[in-house]
Symmetry: C2
C-alpha cells in the first residue's frame, strides 16, 4: 500500500462533538477538556463555534472558552464562524484559524443555513477575505459530499462546484464532510479522483462520521489516494444523543489506532486521548462508544476484578 508517512489529526470534538449534546456543559469543563487535549500531542483543535447562541445554546460561551484556554504555541486553535458577526467575535478572542461552511447539497444547505448555495457564497466570501486580512488562515467545510438526507447521492461535479467557490474565495484548506456517514470507499475514490484532477491532495482534509461503520475503511482509501489530514472527535463525540443512529465523528482514538498500526506518524498520545474522553463523558452524562474506550473500560473492569480476586 502506498501510504503517507505522517498524518495531521484535527480534533473537532469540542465543536462538532459538543454542539449536539443536550446536557449543559460548564464553561470551565470545556476549558479543562481543551487544555487536556492540548497536552495530547494534537496540533490542531477546533475549539468552538461562533454561531448565534439561539442556534446552538451549548456553544454560547464560545468567546469565554477561546479566551480562557491555556494556549500551546505549537497548536492551532480554530473556530467555526458562519458570518461576519461570528468572525469579529472570534478575532476578538484571538482565534488562530477560522472555518466557514456550506453544503454540497442544495437542500441540505437550505435546511442548515436557510439560504441557497448561491446566496451563501457571497456571505462566506466576505468572511474569508476579512479573515485573511486579519492574517488568519481560513478553512472551508463542505457538508454532505457523498450523501444527503434529502437528495441522496451527491455527484462529484456538485462537490467540485462548491470546492471551486471556496478556493476562489481564498480558503487555505477544504474539509470534505460525509455528514451523515453513508460513504463507502468506492464513492470516496470517485470523489477524490475528480477533485484531484483540479487540486493537489494536500489542500484537502477528510471529515467522516461513523454512522454505518465505514469511516475507517473510507480513511484507508483516502490515505491511499494521498490525503494526509483527517478530522476526528475524541470518544466519537457528536451526533444527537436522542436520535439513535445519528452518530458522531469517527473517534480520534480509533483513528489513532489505525494510523499507528499502519506505521503512520501522528505525534498523538493514546493514553492522553483516552483520559480526555473519560473526562468529557462524565461531563456530558452519557457513555461514549468508541472501540478503544470499550477496550480501555474492559481492561479497567478486569483490573478491578483481579484486585478483588472475584470470579
Amino acid at each position: 500500500m502506498n501510504l503517507p508517512r505522517q498524518v495531521v489529526m484535527k480534533e473537532v470534538g469540542p465543536r462538532d462533538g459538543l454542539q449536539n449534546e443536550k446536557q449543559k456543559i460548564l464553561t470551565e469543563d470545556k476549558i479543562s477538556f481543551i487544555n487536556q487535549l492540548s497536552e495530547s500531542g494534537l496540533k490542531y483543535i477546533e475549539v468552538t463555534s461562533f454561531v448565534h447562541p439561539e442556534w446552538i445554546p451549548q456553544l454560547a460561551d464560545a468567546k469565554d472558552v477561546l479566551q480562557s484556554i491555556k494556549r500551546n504555541q505549537t497548536i492551532t486553535y480554530a473556530a467555526l464562524v458562519p458570518n461576519m458577526r461570528g468572525l469579529i467575535r472570534a478575532l476578538e478572542a484571538e482565534v488562530d484559524e477560522v472555518s466557514v461552511f456550506l453544503s454540497a447539497s442544495e437542500t441540505h444547505n437550505k435546511n442548515n443555513i436557510n439560504k441557497t448555495i448561491d446566496e451563501t457564497i457571497p456571505i462566506l466570501k466576505e468572511v474569508v477575505q476579512e479573515g485573511l486580512k486579519a492574517n488568519r488562515s481560513v478553512r472551508g467545510y463542505v457538508s454532505t459530499v457523498i450523501g444527503c438526507p434529502y437528495e441522496g447521492y451527491i455527484e462529484p461535479e456538485q462537490v467540485l462546484k462548491v470546492v471551486d467557490a471556496l478556493f476562489n474565495m481564498g480558503v487555505t484548506e477544504v474539509s470534505l464532510g460525509d455528514t451523515i456517514g453513508v460513504a463507502v470507499p468506492t464513492q470516496v475514490e470517485k470523489l477524490l479522483a475528480r477533485l484531484f484532477n483540479e487540486y493537489p491532495p494536500n489542500v484537502f482534509a477528510m471529515h467522516f462520521h461513523d454512522t454505518r461503520g465505514t469511516a475507517l475503511a473510507n480513511i484507508v482509501k483516502s490515505l491511499e489516494m494521498g490525503i494526509t489530514i483527517f478530522d476526528s472527535s475524541v470518544g466519537g463525540l457528536g451526533g444527537c444523543p436522542y436520535a439513535k443512529g445519528a452518530t458522531g465523528n469517527v473517534a480520534t482514538e480509533d483513528l489513532l489506532y489505525l494510523l499507528t498500526e499502519m506505521g503512520i506518524e501522528t505525534g498523538v498520545n493514546m493514553d492522553a486521548i483516552l483520559a480526555s474522553a473519560f473526562f468529557i463523558e462524565e461531563k456530558i452524562g452519557r457513555k461514549l462508544g468508541s472501540k478503544q474506550l470499550e477496550i480501555a473500560r474492559g481492561k479497567r473492569g478486569l483490573a478491578h476484578s483481579d484486585s478483588k480476586h472475584t470470579v
Copy 2:
C-alpha cells in the same frame, strides 16, 4: 477500485456468536433463529459446534438443532467439529459441511485446544479425511492470523505453515481469522500477498472480528486483493458479553451495507437480517451493537414518537 462482482457471505452467528453467550438460549429459539436466517438469502450458515458439552454448554444441543432446522436445499448448513467424536455426531445429524480449526499462534493453540500445533494436525487430518470420505466438504479455520493475545504479531510465514498443513489434509477452503480483532489493512495485505504466492484467492475466506473498528477496512483491502468469501455474524454476535472489549464478528448487516453500496452482489436481504438480529437479541437478553441495528432502532424510535406527536 478492482472489486469482485459477487461475494459469498458465510453466516457464523449461530455458532461463533452464540457459543460465548452466558444466558441459556432455548433449542427451539436457536432453531427458529436459523430458520429465519434461511429465508434471508444467505447461502451458508454455520449452525453449531460439536465440541464437548463441558467446553461449551451453550451448544450441547448441537445435534438437536442441526436435525430440527428446516433445510433449504440451496443452503450449506455447516458445523464446527474438533475431533472424530464430533464428526460422527455431526454426520449423524446430516451436516452438509464440517469445519476444523487450529491457531497460527502456538501459544493460542495450546490455550485453546490444549495441544501444540504439531499435536493438533494429525487429529484434524483424520477428521478431514473421514469427512471427505463421507462426501462432505471440509473447511479449515486458522485463528490469530494477524495477532495473538499471548504472542503479539504473527508473521505470514507462520500462518502459511498452518495453511499448508490444512490444504495438505484436503480441506476445500481455509477461513483466516483475526480472532482478537487487531488487524489493520497493511497487515492483511502483507498476509494475503504471501499466501497468494502459493494459493489462488478463491480458496480463502476472511473472518474478521471488529474489536477495534477495523473490520470493514480490512474487508475492503481483502476484496481488492481478490477475496470473495467473508464470514460474519448477525448483529455482530459473539465475543464475551462480560468482558467489554472482547467483541464479536463483524456484523452481517454492516458488511451487507458496505458490499451493497459498493455495488457487490450478495443475494442477502437486509430487512430479513435485521429481523433475525432483533429476534435473537431478545433471546440472549442484551442489546446487540451493530451500526445498522442502531439505525433501525433510531427509525423505530422516530416512527413511534411521530405517531404520538410528542416532541
